[in-house]
Amino acid sequence: MFVLIALTAALALPATPAPVSPRLPTPPIAAKPGDLFEDVTRKAGIGFVHQFPHQRIANILLSNGAGAVVFDYDNDGFVDLYLLNWGPLEGVTSVPPGTPRQPNRLYHNRGDGTFEDVTAKAGLAGSGFASAATAGDYDNDGHADLYVAGIGCSQLFRNRGDGTFEDVTAKAGVGHGGAGISATWLDFDNDGFLDLYVVNYLTYIPEKESEQNPGAYPGPLAYAGQANVLYRNRGDGTFEDVTQAAGLYSPGHRGMSVSAFDANRDGCVDLYVSNDDTPNQLFLNDGKGHFTEVATDAGVAFNSIGEAPGSMNTAIADADGDGFPDLFVTRFGYGSLYVRTPNGHYDDRIWTSGLGRLTQRYVGWGGEFLDYDNDGDMDLVVANGSAFVLDGTSTLLLENQGNATFADASARGGVFFQTPVNGRGNAALDFDNDGRIDFLITALADRPFLLHNRVVNGNHWLTLQLEGTRSNRSGYGALLKLVAGDLTLQSEARCPTGFLTQSDARPHFGLGTRTKLDRLEVRWPSGRTQVLTNLAVDQILKVKEPQP
């Protein structure tokens, strides 16, 4: 009788939900008064926790993490956050049967420093084992759409413009079943419609074991790499796979992330792919629909010690102020700062920049350029973490000295930078539109970290919000040149994807003490050049491409 009562009582109790993660989420990190950055995640109302359906990092797919996208889905002028999640995946995860997948989360920015979870209303819970996502207005209707890349399941969500999204994957023809890990929007043929490049990782086989280290899981070379895919937008809501025709079919690599940018400033967007344990690839676009891989000749395939270790992410910005884009690559292994030289080749200055010494202890994942102090040069935040254990490591704030040499500013950055975090994705954004760049880090088996920029130095800034007309509506691919007195800055409106994440797509310029903008030149992907003069500083400037 006692047993029966006990059993009845037990059944009457609510079932204890399976833990989302084998570790407790990091509690809020209290900033000290002088800290440059403050963890405001909880204060902002972001309760997301990355679902980690295992007790440990038991295989290579579990080492990578899930990311986030920064985009303004409702056009209210404040960027919103979309955070991706994993779920049970046969052969990869290990959780009790029936463990539900936790949803991706869309957080609407209220504009007052707080966010509200609108996932259910938006229809963006997603499915599967999501890795990364990218936002772009592929149908030019004025509302940013979403492509989510995941392992075995990727999805395209069309933004209806009313706060809801519809899954149009099948209709659009972009449901590639590979191990999706990164994606980016780009208009490679400059026809005014955004195309889509999807990076696939490797073909995972659960039975593989490490030959060298019986206690460790096998590395990427133990598995066959998967080819990446370029989808051309037909302009009618459907896409076609043009990978082969575009010269982009390149099997044998294990891609981790992709950065679309105009490497040679010829008006045609190029692609740089970060690969795991094989050389990185730079595909130059000839403007006629064809790409050529030139990474070895250009000097961006290997690191400075002649090795091709696991590359996670490539951040793009003009690090040395010469007007050309440079590349910062994070790796499990020696990273790279590829600085473009006048002859079009790149020098890896990881050692002479000081970054080699500053980053040598850490496995770098999401590295992102941002001018956090608005002094006109591009600094770095690097999310670090272990590939083997769930314990965290420090995040780095690295201050550009103005000449592509860097100093460690982590101590001034604040308590967050001394807090162990198993960082993965890293996105730069200005969520409160105050002109000071904040950042968001996603972490493995943990909550994300939204870091609010508290720098007070009186420096000025300009942020642009572009709208293409003949060009793609997102303005991706527009080349920008800004002159403010003695300061000239060049940049590009890109789809700013990195490892697992997409940053705030609004181009941002730190202006230092300059109080007037003499000239802004926008070279649109359509070929039209627009010039604006005598502009005020400290504003978010909307720039619409002139109609023909």
Partner: protein, 231 residues
């Protein structure tokens, strides 16, 4: 210690029962015994061919069984099962310098003025990159404290220290462990001497060369071999 399946299937695997001879040669001896029977031993003349064959088989089958048993028997206990990082690096270095020497002597020196003949440094770099493209678990590169190309200068603290070491003590290698981007490496640095007058002449004549008084036998740089200690 148990044998791995791969050793069992290898004809040249170890054979402790036979006292160190390889099982391949043991089997070879047994086949000779069969042949001996076919020719007929002394004192047994007149036996039919069929009878000799039966007799031969009756010897051969048990002998073959013994050979198979011997192949499955416990193996030697003193065989090497691992290669040390130092030995691996030394071996890689030996291959690199041998290839380099032959390339310089057989190709570069014979076509010194040919514009399409890469220098030995370019050859080394291209070979290293070709290996990396296949997904290698080691890497190597050429370094110098006085490089013609600035990118060939030391790129890590380990390289800096190793180059200084082998410059002073060129007959010794410098070994260390490094952590680069959170990944641990075994790093070995080997002196690279100017062995031929063509090396000296080339470096002394290069417009960008920071040093132009090289002599044969000088340590011009080093070959750095790295083996990652994590995948």
């Amino acid at each position: 210690m148990t044998k791995s399946p791969s050793f069992r299937s290898t004809p040249f695997g170890s054979d402790p029962v036979a006292g160190g001879g390889d099982p391949g040669s043991t089997r070879f001896n047994q086949i000779h015994a069969v042949d001996f029977g076919r020719d007929g031993p002394p004192g047994r003349p007149g036996r039919s061919r069929t009878a000799r064959r039966v007799l031969a088989l009756s010897f051969a089958l048990p002998t073959l069984a013994c050979a198979i048993w011997a192949a499955d028997a416990p193996e030697k206990t003193h065989l090497a099962r691992t290669v040390t990082m130092r030995k691996m690096a030394d071996s890689l270095h030996a291959v690199i310098v041998a290839d380099q020497k032959i390339y310089v002597e057989q190709v570069a020196q014979k076509r010194p003025s040919a514009g399409d003949t890469p220098s030995h440094a370019e050859m080394l770099r291209k070979a290293s990159q070709a290996i990396q493209k296949k997904g290698a678990e080691f890497s190597y590169t050429l370094r110098s404290l006085t490089p013609i190309n600035p990118n060939s200068g030391p790129q890590t603290e380990g390289e800096q220290t190793g180059l200084a070491f082998v410059t002073k003590r060129p007959d010794e290698a410098y070994y260390t462990e490094e952590e680069l981007g959170g990944r641990s490496y075994f790093t070995a640095v080997y002196a690279e001497r100017a062995t031929l007058t063509s090396c000296v002449d080339c470096h002394n004549q290069q417009p960008g060369s920071p040093r132009k008084d090289w002599k044969t036998g000088d340590v011009m740089g080093a070959i750095v071999v790295r083996v990652p200690l994590e995948f």
